[in-house]
Structure formats: C-alpha cells, structure tokens
Symmetry: D2
Subunit: 508 residues, 4 copies
C-alpha cells in the first residue's frame, strides 16, 4: 500500500489528515477537559503514582476530541499509547493532529477507505518486534478480531505452510483483513502470536463488540481476557441513552437542516439507544413510531405514548428512519423503495448492516447524488423519488456530527480506569461528575444505613455480578471480585488489573 507513516520531531509515528489543525484541536481539547470532570479527576488522583507506567495501550476507538482527552489521561497516568479509529468517518482531524503532535501515535483521518482503515488498525497494534500492546481499548472489536484472525492464520501457516487467501471470501472487507494478515505473515510468522502473548486483556466499549467476545468465549476461541465496559450503568445509560438523545438530532440537523417538529420518525429498536433517540425526536416535536421484537420494550414505548408498529406498516408515511438495534437487515432496499421522497434513513445502532447498503448500492439503475460528505441522496429509477442516507449507513452521530458530547464520554471513559476496586464501580464515576453539575448528595445516617443494610459510603446497589461467559456464567460477591482482581497478573498495577478480566462488573 502506498500509505507512509510519518514521524514527529521526537520520532513518534503518525498518519493524520492535516498536522496544521493541531492548534485548533488543542483548543477544543482544552474546552472538552472542562466538560470531562471524571477523567480530569483521575489524573489528579492517580497521576502522581503513575499506575500505568510502562504500559503499552492500543486504542481502536473513534478518534474524536473526547477520545483525545482519554488518550492524554492515559499518558498522564504513565502509559504509552498508539491509536486508530474504529469507524472510517468518525475521526475529527483536528483532534488527531493535536494528539499526534503532542501525545501519542495516531493513525486516523475522516473518510478512510476500508483498506486505509485496516492499515491504520494494524499500525496501531504494531509496537515493533517486542510484541503488541499490554492492553487494548476496543470499540466494536476490530482490533480484537485482527489479532484472532492473525493467530488463526499463523497456526495454519505453521502447520501447513499455507498463506491466507483473500479470494476465499465474498466479503470485501474480510478480503482486506486477510491481505493484511498475509502481508504480515510473510514478514514475521509469529507476529500475532507475540501480540497475544503480551496482551493482558482488552476492554470493549460496545454491545456489538461484547457479543462477539461472548461468542468467541462460548466456542473457546477467545485468546485473552476481556472486560465489558459497555454494561456499566455510567457507560450504557449515559453513552447509549443520554448520548444518543443528544447526538441524533445533532447529526440530523448538521446533515440535512431538516425541521424535526411535525415529522414522523420511526425508531427501530427501543433499547437504551432507541429510548434516547425516541425521546429526542419526541421532545423535538416529531411523532415517533417504534418497531420492536421484545414485548417488554414494546410496552415501555407504549407507556411513553409512542406507537409500536412494524416497519412495513409505516414505511411509506414516515419522514425519518433511524436504526438502533445492533442487529442486521433492519431497513432493506425494498423498504427504501417505498419511502416518501427525501425520507431520511440513518443508523445509530452499530454496524452499517442495520441498513441494507449493499442492496441499495446494487439496486439496478439507482443513482447516488452526494449532497455533501456523509449526506447522499439515492434516487430510484422507477419512482424518480429519492431518499437521503446519512453516513453511508454507518453511525450517523459520528459521521454527520461529532459523536457524543464530552460530558457523556467522560462518564464512559472514566470507566476505563475506575475498576480499581469494584465496590467503587460506577458510583465513583458518577460521583466524579456531580460537582460540575452543582449537585449535592444526601448522606445516609448510621441508623438508616443499618435499616436498609447499605453502607453509608456505598455501594448503594448491593450486588456485584461477575461471570465468565454468556451461556456458562458464574457470579461472585463483591469480595470475591476483589480477590480475583488481586490475583491476576501481579506485575500489573492495581489500576490496570481492574480492566483486565473477562467479566462484567456492574451494580445490580
């Protein structure tokens, strides 16, 4: 590939769009820090002890201003960091430039091709001949996937001498993955094995990535421990619910300037993301219709005054369609053909296969008119009517806006760090953010504490559940978790240990 790594004057590698945007990025990072009290408090509290001293961290996570604050929190705690984005559209180029210049190795820009995307991922994982990172901060699981596929290919190669064959698959993206592994294999046939050896674990941010991990765990394919950050309350509720409530209208407005009031918005899925999206659309004056498979979620939607119908019932009447399911094949090209002229179709769930982009792209005679980057009008030849697809079916809040606001990401990101002791858990993350918002907590009296059997200092949700897999789970008490954390990898700092288990740690 023609892509060349560049180096800063201090010799740190990077590949970004435009280094001259570093000053602008720095200004916005400084703004964001004021909005991210959780991360800033981590630096204040843990910085002096340098708990991440010597740790190598690779991140595959949207390279935004908020992520920049996370990266600089990690480096302030002593870590070395290499970073790529986990989405071809989600990088903010000024953020990437500032970090590349000042803090860490970055390989990311807005509008990567798929080929460039995987090149960046491989670069972020490559720490040289000594093996890979100690820790991966993954979002969607692509970095984790690359290592697993790499190890698999290396094993086959060791046994049979056979290189991976990109033509063995129809999936164009997987062809690229195989090519990259093939290239690596020819240079170092133990490259991914070395990574696996060094790796203490991965922390995963998303529902989708977590699901992948569970599936690997179930089949015994999982090569290293993982921690599910997605399911802590301060991540899932804040990132999914409040974050999407903020960023769906943001993305819609930036991409289309459409008036939301008076429109009919269909939200596919009513989990936390869907709840946030539906709330945003409703309060902006849209009429919201929900599609759901789960009767409990459906009943919750009804209790908020939202209609629950199938996509087929409303496809030709609605103005805005947004997928939030984490499942595939939600809006198919046959749905899109029946939509009103200029209906808006977007995805805030996870992968771009929630929307049948392939069906759309290959529809005979369909015409794509790019209004502006990440805003395309697709015109069907038979009806001459067009629909607006945002971010090419990928995450519209990252592609069309700037992702979640700093405050939300501070809640999510502080979780990376805060699993020192499980009893603090989420509650510590939440508490770190209250001062900024002027809140004052009530304290339990000793007498009340006894009455409800909850310690004065918390945790206020009594139960910690930890398990080692989806089908085959086991639960420990909060005390057991402490013991387990202590026993893992004595060489790691306590702070790191919190992240390095394949477990859920969250309040009941």
């Amino acid at each position: 590939m023609a892509l060349l790594v560049e180096k800063t004057s201090s010799g740190r590698e990077y590949k970004v769009k435009d280094m001259s945007q570093a000053d602008f990025g720095r200004l916005e990072i400084e703004l964001a820090e004021v909005e991210m009290p959780g991360l800033v408090s981590c630096v204040t509290e843990f910085g002096p002890s340098q708990p991440l001293k010597g740790a190598r961290i690779t991140g595959s996570l949207h390279m935004t201003i908020q992520t920049a604050v996370l990266i600089e929190t990690l480096t302030a705690l002593g870590a070395e960091v290499r970073w790529c984005s986990c989405n071809i559209f989600s990088t903010q180029d000024h953020a990437a430039a500032a970090i590349a210049r000042d803090s860490a190795a970055v390989f990311a820009w807005k509008g990567e091709t798929l080929q460039e995307y995987w090149w960046c991922t491989e670069r972020a994982l490559d720490w040289g001949p000594g093996g890979g990172p100690d820790l991966i901060v993954d979002d969607g699981g692509d970095a984790t996937l690359l290592i697993h596929e790499g190890v698999k290919a290396e094993e086959i190669f060791a046994k049979t001498g056979q290189l991976p064959d990109p033509t063995s698959t129809d999936n164009p993206e997987f062809q690229i993955v195989l090519s990259i592994i093939k290239d690596g294999l020819q240079v170092d046939p133990k490259k991914y094995h070395k990574m696996k050896e060094r790796l203490v674990g991965v922390s995963e941010e998303t529902t989708t990535g977590v699901k992948r991990l569970y599936q690997m765990q179930e089949t015994g394919a999982l090569l290293f421990p993982a921690i599910n950050v997605n399911d802590s309350v301060t991540k899932s509720k804040f990132d999914n619910l409040y974050g999407c409530r903020h960023s769906l209208p943001d993305g819609l407005m930036r991409a289309t300037d459409v008036m939301i009031a008076g429109k009919v918005a269909v939200i596919c899925g009513y989990g936390d993301v869907g709840k946030g999206c539906a709330a945003a659309m409703k309060t902006a004056g849209a009429r919201v219709i929900v599609t759901e498979i789960d009767p409990i979620c459906a009943l919750q939607a009804l209790m908020e005054g939202l209609q629950v119908l199938t996509l087929e019932d409303v496809v030709s009447e609605a103005d805005i369609f947004c997928t939030t399911t984490g499942n595939k094949d939600i809006i198919m090209v046959d749905h899109m053909r029946k939509m009103k002229n200029n209906a808006i179709v977007c995805n805030i769930g996870h992968f771009d296969n929630e929307i049948d982009m392939q069906g759309l792209e290959t529809y005979p005679g369909v015409k794509r008119i790019t209004i502006k980057p990440q805003t395309d009008r697709w015109v069907f030849p038979d009806t001459k009517s067009g629909i607006i697809v945002l971010a090419e079916g990928r995450l519209m809040n990252l592609g069309c806006a700037t992702g979640h606001p700093s405050f939300v990401m501070s809640c999510s990101f502080t979780n990376q760090k805060v699993y020192v002791l499980p009893k603090h858990l989420d509650e510590k993350v939440a508490a770190l953010h209250l001062g900024k918002l002027g809140a004052r907590l009530t304290k339990l009296t000793k007498d009340q504490s006894d009455y409800v059997s909850i310690p004065v200092e918390g945790p206020y949700k009594p139960l910690v559940r930890v398990w080692s897999g989806w089908g085959n789970m086991r639960y420990w008490s909060s005390y057991e978790v402490d013991q387990i954390l202590v026993s893992i990898r004595g060489c790691c700092s306590l702070v790191l240990r919190g992240c390095f288990m394949f477990c859920f740690v969250f309040p009941f």
Copy 2:
C-alpha cells in the same frame, strides 16, 4: 376483641364495611377487567385445566378493585381464597363487598385501626384446624411476619411455658402483634407451626417485603420458600415507575386540589418510584428537586434537568414533599417545622416511617386538624403555620386515591401466575398487554436470530438469574430453573410451582 366475623348465605366468612356496595363494586370490577388483559388472558388460557384446584391462598394486599380481579382470577383457576389488606387505608369498600359476596373470604375496610388491621390479617391466615394456606400473596410482608413471630412464640412456649408479653416492647404495633399471638397460643399452641408446615411458599410484591425476606434468609430464620415478584420488569418498572407516575398526582389532586404547576416539588429518592414521581410532577408543571444518596441515580436526575440537593437545602422553599426511598427517617419533624405554610408532605415509598409521624404527633403543642379523612393539617404552636400530611404518612396513592390503575396492576398481578416456564417470564406478561394498546411486534427473521443469538420466539433478554439469598447467592441457567421448578412439590400444579421458590426469576 369485639369484632365479629359475618357469613354469607353460602356460609363464607367476611368482615367488610358495607355489603350494600357490592353492586357498585361489581360494576367497577367489570370495568377493570377490560383494563387488565393479562389476568383475563390467564383465565382464558389456564382456566379449563384448573391448575389451582384445591389450593388455599391467603392474600395480604391492598383490597382494591384491581386486587378483586386478581382474586377472581385465582378462584377461576380453582383456588380457594381468604384476603385482607396490607394497609389500613387502602381498601376500597365496594371492592371488598363485591368479593365478599361473590368470590372469597374478605376481612378489610378503609380506615382500620391497627388493632383491626392485625385482626384481619390473622383472620385471612386462619383456614381452620387443618393448618393455613398453601400459598401467601404478601405485600410488605405482614402475613409472613405474623407466622414467623407466631412460630417463634410457640417454640418459646413449648420450651418454657412462657406466653409472649406485649409490654416487652415500646412499639405499639408490635404490642398488638404479640397480643394476637398470645391469644392464639392459648387456643392452639401449634397454630402457627401447622401453618408453616402446610405452607408451600410466599410471593412477595414489594421491595420492602423482599428486603425483610433476605434478612431472614441471611440469619437462617426464613421458614419457607418465597418468590420475589417485585423484581420482574413488568412488576418493578410498571408498578413502581408508571404506576406512581399515575397515582402521585391523582392522590395529590384528590386530597388537596392543589395546582401542581408552578410549585416546587421535592422527591426524596430517585429509584423507580422516585423516577415516576419526578416525571409526573415535572410534566404537570412543577419544578422538581431530587434528594439522593446514590451518585448514579443523582446523575440520572441531573440528566433529566432536575436539581439534586439535600432536604435541608430546600426545606423552607418547597411546596410539595414526597418520600420514595424505602428507608426510614427521611422527613423529620424538624424539617416539617421549617416548611412553608400548607406545604404538603406525603409518602409513596413504603412504610409510614419514611416520614417522622411519631415526632410530629408528639411535638409539644402541635395541633391536628382533619380536613377530610387522610388529609390532615398539622399546626405548629410556635410558628402558627401548618403543613398538610396525607394518609397519616402512609402510602398516599392508596390512602388518598385508589392506588395504581388497573392496567398497571394487571402487569404486576399477571406475574403471580406466569412463572410456569421461566423462558416466558416477563415477556409473556408484557405480550399479553400489547393487543389492548394496539401494538404490533416485529418478528426476527431466522437469519437475524442467528446473527444476534436470540431465539425468534424469545426470550429476548438472554439471561435468567436465580438465587437463594442476598449475600449468599447462586445463579442458574434458564434450563436449570426449569429443572428446579419441576422438582419442587410434585403435588402442586406446574402453575403453582413457578411461584413457590425463594428465588428471583427475571430477565437479565
């Protein structure tokens, strides 16, 4: 005691306020049935097989119109039923009359004294010399408590010949409990032991009752299995969140006719009940201030634009105070003294000790003016200013209004019955209510089902957790639960078995 049991022409026992209200009660029961599709579906589906044939069920649960529909569902499934209320103010007398006349033994009226209350509880438990009920439907745990205390006293008596001594406690309510047990002991020294022997288990509706059960479990004092209905989503979310969102304003308006818009409302606690209350007050136009001990709940309140402060910060500025904590000593008499004239103080949490009623009643020189039943103005001698206390500090939605609406209670009550197979769980309860609201669910395709590893028919939340106690828990898979259910008490029908475990059974 001078209370006399009456009998219907068919010989069934009862004690209600006014049998002439039975027709009125019947009309409202018929109305409520239309609103309770879950229970009605249970009768349609399970009625013919009479799964509860021969079972004796005692209920201690607010004797409302909605409960009447539950009782008649149980009798339609074959059970015999005896009932009392679990709150001195919560009985609807026309509901009690209709049930007493038509379906079951009822001992309940609005405005019982504490002495009358415990007499009713004892009556509901007394199935004659053959022992007590097979199943208790408990709410708050008073029926469970009476049996436990009874067994304890019988044991002491058996060993030492000593009768319980009501003067041994300062608590006036507990004095009554001891008196009743003492009276029973003198008639039959094995009365409560027989009950315990026969009892297959108890299902408990409330957080508070569940907590008591856990505490007994932990100390080894729990005498029989129990099922926590409180924590199923269709109970906790619907009853607590949506139910209180409905019934807090209802109770306020019936009791005081106060304009909610423009007022400052303090909601103590921001769990599910608090969330429902805060939403109701906010949407009615009040400014809402939340008090919390838990930083995560506090952050959730802030994300909805609510202020989080301590009670002390706002005690002299707010117009409405509502406790939702499940803890005691939330609003003390010293708070009440500092409130504005005619500030409203009420409790929708659980026991009346959320509000310091004792402190209020014994405040020197305080004057109580009863505006109407369950609405009292208490005037402080020093300031001459008064506060309005609803339902004497007990649950205001039951004391001042009519409790949760039928639709909500249908969600809660259907849970009593639905634990046939855990994989149906909550989802079945929810699904039974969707038709009534005109909702249409989306179906997973086989392909999507594989992609997300969720069966087409559900359950959509993959995990079932079952445990046997608070501190000492264990979890089983959905399959294990099935096995356990099958193995318990072969003599019981499958339907009953679902209820008769001391376990949580709820979706992840």
Copy 3:
C-alpha cells in the same frame, strides 16, 4: 315547585344539600386561600376602603371551594351576594354549606335537576321588590339569558296580555325557563324590567357566554353593558390552558381510575382548552390525536408531535375522547356506536351539546348503567359493547373532579376586581401570584425602557383594545379607557367601574 328556601339564624336565605358540611367546607376554604394570593391581596389592598359597599352582586358560577373564596372576597370588599351554580353537577356541597352559613345567600347543590337548576338561578337573581342585583358575575350566560327572556316576555305581556307558553318549544330546558318566567310574570309583571333597570352590568367568564353577548349586541338585543373577563390573558391562558391541563386527568382518574399511559386519546379542538388537554394526555403517556377545523391550530398541533386527523379516521381505535370546541355536534351517537368497548367519552369544552347526548339517550335499545354518579356506561344493543360517558356529557372537570385548582381560579377571579385602572390589567393579576411561586422579576433600566418604548413599570404589552361589539368595533387607547371608566356611573366605586363596561380590556 316543592323547593323551599331555608334561612340562617341571621335570616339569610339559602338552599344547599347538607348544612352539616359547613365546617368541612370552611377548612377547605382556608386551604384554598393560601393558594389564591390574588384574591387575598385584593382584600388586603382594597378591603379598608370598602369599594363594594352597598353593591348587590348575583353570581351564577360553579359553586366550588374556589368560588367560595371569590364570594368572601366580594363580601370583604363590602358587597352583598346571592349565588347559584352554572352547572347542575359542579357544586361542591361543603363549599355551598360554608358560604350559606357564613357569608352569602346560596342556592346550589351537586346533582340538581334542570328544573331545580333554573329555580336556583331565579332565586339568586331575586333581591326582592326593589329590583335585582347591581352586578352579575355570569359563567355561560344563563343568568343573563333569564333576564333577557324575562324582559322579552314582559314586553309581550304588556302589549298583548299573553303569557309565555312552555309548549311552544321542543327544547325541554327552554320549556323550564319559560315556565319560571310565566310564574314570575303572574306575581310581578315588571320583575325583569326592574332587574334590568338596576343592573349596571354583567361580567362574563366564558367563551360561550361571550359569544352569546356578541350575538345579542349585534342584533341590538343586549340590555345592559357587559365585560368580557374570558379574554384577559390571566383568565384565558390560565383557566383554559393550565386549568384544563390540570383537571382533565384529574376528572378521568376520579371517574374511571383508568391508566392514561399507553392509551390513544382524541382531543377534539386545539384552542387553549384543547392545548391544555392534549399536553396533559401526552405527558401522562397517552398517544394524542387532535381534530381541528382551523389550519393554524392544526399546524401548531403537528409542531408538538401530535397527529391531526378527523374523528371518523380514529373513532374505532381510540380509548379516550374529549371535546374542547365550544361548538355542538362534535361526537355523535353514530361515532359512539363505532367506538371500542369501554371507550371514555367526555366534554371539557362547554355545553353538553358537544356530545350528542340526546342521540345517545334515544338510541333504540341502548342501556344505561350508572357506575357511580357522573360515570355511566352506555351499552349498545347491537354490539353489546359499551362506552363510558362522564358527567352526562357536561363539563367533566366539574362533574367528575372539583374543577380548576385554586391557584388557577385565583388568576381568573382576581380579574373580577382588578380592572380599576386598565394599565395595570392582567399584569397586576399575574404579579400578585408571583410571590407565592418564589419568582423574582427583572426591572427595566431607564435606558432599556427608552430603547424599547415600554415604561419601566409596565404595561409591558403596549396596546389596550376596547370595543363595543363584534362586528362594529372601535378601539381606544389606554388613556381613553381610563376616561371612559371614570365617566360611567359616577355612583359606583372605581373598583366596580372596571367591571361594568361591555368591552374587552386586555393587553395586546
């Protein structure tokens, strides 16, 4: 008629349901005073000067607790008062009892027949041989109507000797009116002429009553001046919008205990009343559909996310129907036949002809089952399915609940009094209520005041419009209004003068 006037020990006339409820009424009046700062301030400010000394005031306005505070404000300012209700269901009997005992002549009880209703109206107008009241506080215009019809009949009688003939009309209510006039004529053939002579004017509270006045004005039939209180902002916005937002759910819950969340509610009309109703239903979790004739109001509904359809489109799908139009024939019996079983039908607009009660009552084979007073189930013979009609089609917030809360009524009622000087207007009414709600106003600087040409002390809306009729209007400046007020009826106090014009006085 067999109705007999009773007398208090001091000789004041009354006819109420139950005098023993006077103490209860007094307690609730005292509560309401705290919620009605506008009226209480009037007493404080104007009481010492007794501006209404010697004035006779007749009121025809819902005899509620809030009206009781109004009546006692009038008597505190020096007036003598006689009162009836303007709706057969709206009286609160304890309020009537307290006023009858303590303050004024009252003829009103909950559940009057139409015959009793008009007897009460006639009693309230009858001040003995010296003629009628100086001022009428009218709501819906029935008192005004009676005088106009009386004068008309007297004129015919004077010319032709002919008495009014009740059989000359099909309208059963108008038959009663004619009977009463006929009876009066036979006693005193100048009774209504004397009333007209003495009467300085009427203040009218409702849109409907105002419309009647305009129609009489246009045809030259209006016999005395009138003031439209309905269209001041503190009346129309507060009473209509905020009042109905409060009292629609209140009435629904008291009458039916139905869960509003999840239901489909149809609001017929989207004026101020409809806006309040729709907001209440939406925030309680219902899905709201609006019917409208006016495209501007329709567009406003759409901007709030509400669907705008015709009644026919949704009649068989909705759960709750509420008319708010002020027009007739909105929900016809043919609509009602198509509704779901137990659909709720109610009216919060004005007259009971918004709902086709006559069509319902005369539907062949229809069966009426009274659940409780003001809550009827009507079952159609063909479908066996029934609908719930509230308050017999009359105002459900008065029939099923207790009308608007005190705070709202304080805004409306203070208008009765406050038109001393038009420049104060509504703004004074509003300002009197701010302190209670803890608000702090900003003051214009002199410089800002000049910049926007608004006086520092207000009025903040620059225009005062006054006119003398609907088709034939004329407008005066604020200054002119002052002059006119001063010139009318020198014998009246300044306070009264504000009320005694046929004019709108409200801010632009």
Copy 4:
C-alpha cells in the same frame, strides 16, 4: 473601497465568496424545496399568471438556502431580484453562489466586515439610474434605514450644500453608513430620493424592524408604506417559537459540542423566542431559569416548571446564557466576569447589543481566543477564567448553525406572497403546509358553522385588525381591508398589493 462587482456570463452582477460552491448550493436548494411546500404551492398556483412581472425586488435578509428558495419563488412569479444579507455571519456561501449563478444578483458572504456589509446593502438597493426597487423585503430594517438616512442627507445637501460627516458620530457602524451616503451623494445627489419615489413599500420580517418603523411613523419620518410580516401567526409563532426551539440547540451543538443535559441554562426573556428556547433546553435535559420583566410571561414560565429569577441571582451558577429579549444591555461585561469558567453566552434575540460586546472587547486585559469562526473564548485577566461567546454576540442560530429549518421558513416566507385577500391570511399559509405533514382537517357542517358564526371555509379567527401606527391606530373590518387593498396602486398586481400597505393584517 476595493470591493469589485463581478458579472455572470449573462451579465448579472454579484459578489459572493466562491462561485464553485454553486452546484452544492443547488443540491441543497432542491432538498429545501421539498421542505417548503408553501412556497412551492405559490409557484404552482400563481406562476402562470406572472403577478410580479416587471417588479424589481431588493432583499436584505439572511442569504441562506431557505432564502434562496424564496428568491427563486419571486423570480418564478416574474420579479427581478437583487439581494444582500442582513447579518454579517448569516450567509451560506453555497446558497449565495447558486443564486448568483442561476437566478438573481447577490452581494453576500459569510464573515463580512461591517464596511463590506453596508457596501452589499447599497449594491442590493442600486438598480441603476432609473431609481431603486419597487419592493424591499427587509429584515431588521437596514435597507429601510439606508434609504431614510440617504434622503435626509440629500435634503440637507440640497438646502445647505453640506455633505454628511462620518466623524459626527461615535457609533462606528453609523460612520460607515454616513460614508456610503456621502460617496453616493457626490455621484448622484438625488439617488435616494429616486429610490423613495419608485418604492411602493417594504415588508419587514422582525420585531425589531417593525419597532423602528413604528417609531418613524410616529414622528412622521416614515417615507413609504410598510407591511409587518412579523406579526402573522404563521410567522411569529413558527419562526420565533418553533424555529428557535429547533435552532438554539443546533447552534450550541455545532459551536461547542457541549452536552446540554444536566446544565443550567438561563433564558433572558420569555416571549415567543424565549418560550422556544426554554422548551428546547428543558427537553434536552437542562435546568432552565428564565429572567423576565413582564409578570404575565413570568407566570407562564412558572406554569411550565421553570424558575424565574434575575440574572444577578444566577450569574455565577449557570452554564449557558441566551438572550431573547429584543432589548439592549441584557448581559453586561460585569455579569460575564462573574460567570463560571467556559460558561456559554449567546444571543438569539436580535441585535448584538443584547450582549455588551463593546464592554467585553474593551475590558482591560481581556484576551480573545478564537476556537473556530463564531466561537470565541474570552479570558478575563483577573480570574483567568474564560467564557465562550458565540457569533460575536450576534444571532447565534445564523452565525453558528444555518438558521431556521426550511419548513419554518416556508411558513414565514409564504407570507410574503399570500396577502392577496385578507380573509385567507395566515390560514392559507398554514393550510399549504398541512399536507406535507399528513394532517387531515375537520370540516364544519353548515349547522355548526351557524352555531358558532364562523364560515365553513374560514377564516376561523373572526377578526382582522389593520392599523396605521402604534399610538394612533385604527381598525378596519375584513371587508374594509379588502377595499383598501384594491385601491392601492392599481398598477400593481393583486398579489403585490397585499404586501404594500403599512398595516398589520393578522387574525385575531
């Protein structure tokens, strides 16, 4: 000045930022047309008759995509158009390019200096030696102001030979105005007189511009008729209320990416703009505090649960400050000094003097850091803390976002055209937008129409008020207005006549 007019190949003048953005602009104009059914319907209905044939129209109104659709509506109806923006930041450069290339003479770009701004205004008014435009579409009144000042200066020059002296004023912007007039005078001493002679009238969009017109009218200085578009319901409610509800969060998010939930937002002023802003902030999860001078507006805020305080009360606690008053000196530099670090300060009212920008700019030692265009951080030397000021204190929704969405502007702009017959009025504008939103209106029956005295076809609000000035007003009936419209300027088409009166025409 060094600015040079450019010409298209067809010879039409223009001055825009970048003609290569014309294609992008065209795509977005086509999108916007789908959202602007009112304007598109005008072209369909009136296009064939070319009612504006031969009319010259000058516009001074934000040169956005939505305005582009308005301009092309005007040209489709036959007019020739010259355009400038009315705000130095509000131009969308791609919109300007598309219009300049395809439809009209445009002089506008984002980020004009004040000198450039007035140069553009003068260019838009200059139609060559034959005088100025027939009609001005003004927004804020700057085009109107320039003609008035020009005429004044020409009169002085004619009498005394004296040229205007820019140094006679301290106001830097007015110095520029005088310079431009001075330059013009030296070329053609009758330039502005000729404009005035030709001009049939001006339509004014904003409250501020309308106020200026009234002040000129009152002093007799107004030189030509004007029509107030601002006060039609479809303009004021939609543009002000719904438009700002949409665009305040849009601007905040684009400029700062700040999380709105959890923040304290102060909205200065609670008129229609303030109501829209407060609703947007509240529903996004902020806690909203309102400042007001008018007690009625204050009471409305309280009824929505908003706190009403003075700016001084909250200046150091709030996170976001937004002015909406139309008055000056709302947020002074002394307020800004006391704000929290990174508090956001913005104006969505009208002129930039709502915020004391001059005080800020001249504060000793203050440091301005431009994060990005229209987003500045101002750091105070004493506290080292900074505030974020948006759009340099000018309209933030235009400076930081893209102004109101197309749908709202379609409501506003269609008013330009629709005053053919006053009885259609606003209602026609509203009706033209209903179809797009899937609404179905209810029709009055003849019987209902008679009952409420409203024609079946509307207008549904019965009154039309027309007057000729603020202090000295007169009102006509709807019929009179028709007559007046017919009598004005027989040479103009009926469509134009609607616009060319100095009058309000709006429903009661």
